[in-house]
């Protein structure tokens, strides 16, 4: 997948009902690599915070000797953050409202994360 295809994939993710934005994040630096999002989503903040959660998740699964995280789903009262590992250090991240089609979003994320490799 080349970078222009990245944007096509991100647009498709953002097209899922209830999705506020999708981005590719460099987990090491917590920075945005590519993004498409609605105006109200602060993608730079999403990148920093998602990368921080991914980093903590990795330390947790490492302590449990359960391997490296490949996906992460944070569900909260008003919305959710989903993240799928691409080729290190990239992660594919999406932020959605609580009424979003999370099941479909999750499958798309999995497919695109795989294609990022």
């Amino acid at each position: 997948m080349n970078t222009s295809q990245w944007h096509d994939a991100l647009r498709e993710l953002t097209g899922v009902t209830g999705v506020l934005g999708a981005l590719i994040v460099s987990a090491d630096d917590g920075l945005v690599v590519a993004e498409t999002a609605m105006d109200e989503l602060a993608t730079a903040d999403v990148a920093a915070l998602a990368a921080a959660v991914v980093s903590r998740a990795g330390r947790c699964t490492d302590a449990m000797r359960a391997g490296v995280p490949s996906s992460l789903h944070l569900a909260a009262e008003q919305g959710a953050l989903l993240a799928m590992a691409g080729p290190p250090p990239l992660w594919l991240v999406a932020v959605a409202r609580h009424d979003a089609e999370l099941g479909r979003l999750r499958l798309l994320l999995r497919d695109f994360a795989g294609a990022l490799r």
């Binding site: 602060a42 903040d45 999403v46 915070l49 998602a50 921080a52 959660v53 903590r56 998740a57 330390r59 947790c60 699964t61 490492d62 302590a63 449990m64 000797r65 359960a66 391997g67 490296v68 995280p69 490949s70 996906s71 992460l72 789903h73 944070l74 569900a75 909260a76 009262e77 008003q78 919305g79 959710a80 953050l81 932020v95």
Partner: protein, 252 residues
């Protein structure tokens, strides 16, 4: 008369050929002969896990479950990662309708052999027949190898363990990291306007982990094998969270 051409007993015991011989006798139903070969072999090779595994399978076929369980535990003492022993113990537990133990043993087997199709199939089989009754299904905090950990947000372990036998130090280390994860996830949800966190699910190649806040400034982490459906994992975690609420309420 046995129609098997038996090499002279001494020769049979030279290498580990007795394992193959014992297995062939077992498969032919000649359990007594198979048992004597296995026992003789164990006399010479007491710390060969496969030898205990062979004896355990023979005992299972003879219907001596207790003997089989003892032999498989002996095999695990020689080799804690012995997948055959885990599968054997799971089989006996399953036959006795002890689905929780069966699932537990197969999960430990899956940890050792994450890509062993027979283990994953057995896991699905055990899970599919298990009645979804709360009591039988309930991961208990009191079971240190139950893969269920309760901790406070400062990272101190309150109860439970993480499924690697009852290694307290490991469980404490996981509690410390899990608290960091819980705090980070809660901060991210708050700062991104997603509201209060409900749960977090992590997937790795070997495991699925649910992290869920619990009242009284605590949280729990539930670890299961990679094959468990997420919905089921969250249902288990939800029930554990209720149990934790009550338990912490009584404690505090």
């Amino acid at each position: 008369m046995t129609d098997v051409s038996l090499p002279p007993a001494s020769a049979a015991l030279q290498g580990l050929a007795f394992l193959e011989l014992g297995e062939r006798l077992r498969q032919r139903g000649q359990f007594a002969a198979a048992a004597s070969v296995a026992l003789a072999g164990l006399g010479h090779y007491p710390d060969v896990a496969d030898a205990h595994d062979l004896l355990a399978r023979i005992r299972t076929d003879q219907g001596h479950d207790a003997g089989a369980i003892a032999a498989w535990h002996a095999a695990l003492e020689c080799d804690p990662g012995h997948v055959g022993a885990r599968k054997g113990l799971a089989f006996i537990a399953f036959r006795a309708r002890d689905f929780t133990t069966a699932e537990r043993q197969l999960e430990l087997a899956a940890m050792q052999a994450p890509h062993d199709a027979s283990v994953l199939a057995a896991l699905d089989r055990v899970r599919s027949v298990q009645p979804v009754s709360a009591a039988e299904d309930e991961p208990r905090f009191t079971d240190p190898s139950g893969g269920l950990l309760l901790y406070d947000l400062q990272g101190m372990r309150l109860a439970g363990g993480i499924g690697e036998s009852d290694d307290a130090a490991l469980a404490d280390a996981v509690a410390a990291e899990a608290a960091g994860l819980s705090r980070e996830a809660a901060r991210a949800a708050r700062l991104l306007g997603l509201g209060r966190i409900r749960h977090l699910v992590l997937e790795t190649a070997d495991a699925r982990v649910a992290v869920m806040p619990v009242a009284h400034d605590a949280a729990l982490l539930l670890r299961r094998g990679a094959a468990i459906p997420i919905g089921r994992l969250l249902a288990l975690a939800g029930r554990a969270a209720q149990a934790a609420d009550d338990w912490l309420g009584r404690m505090r």
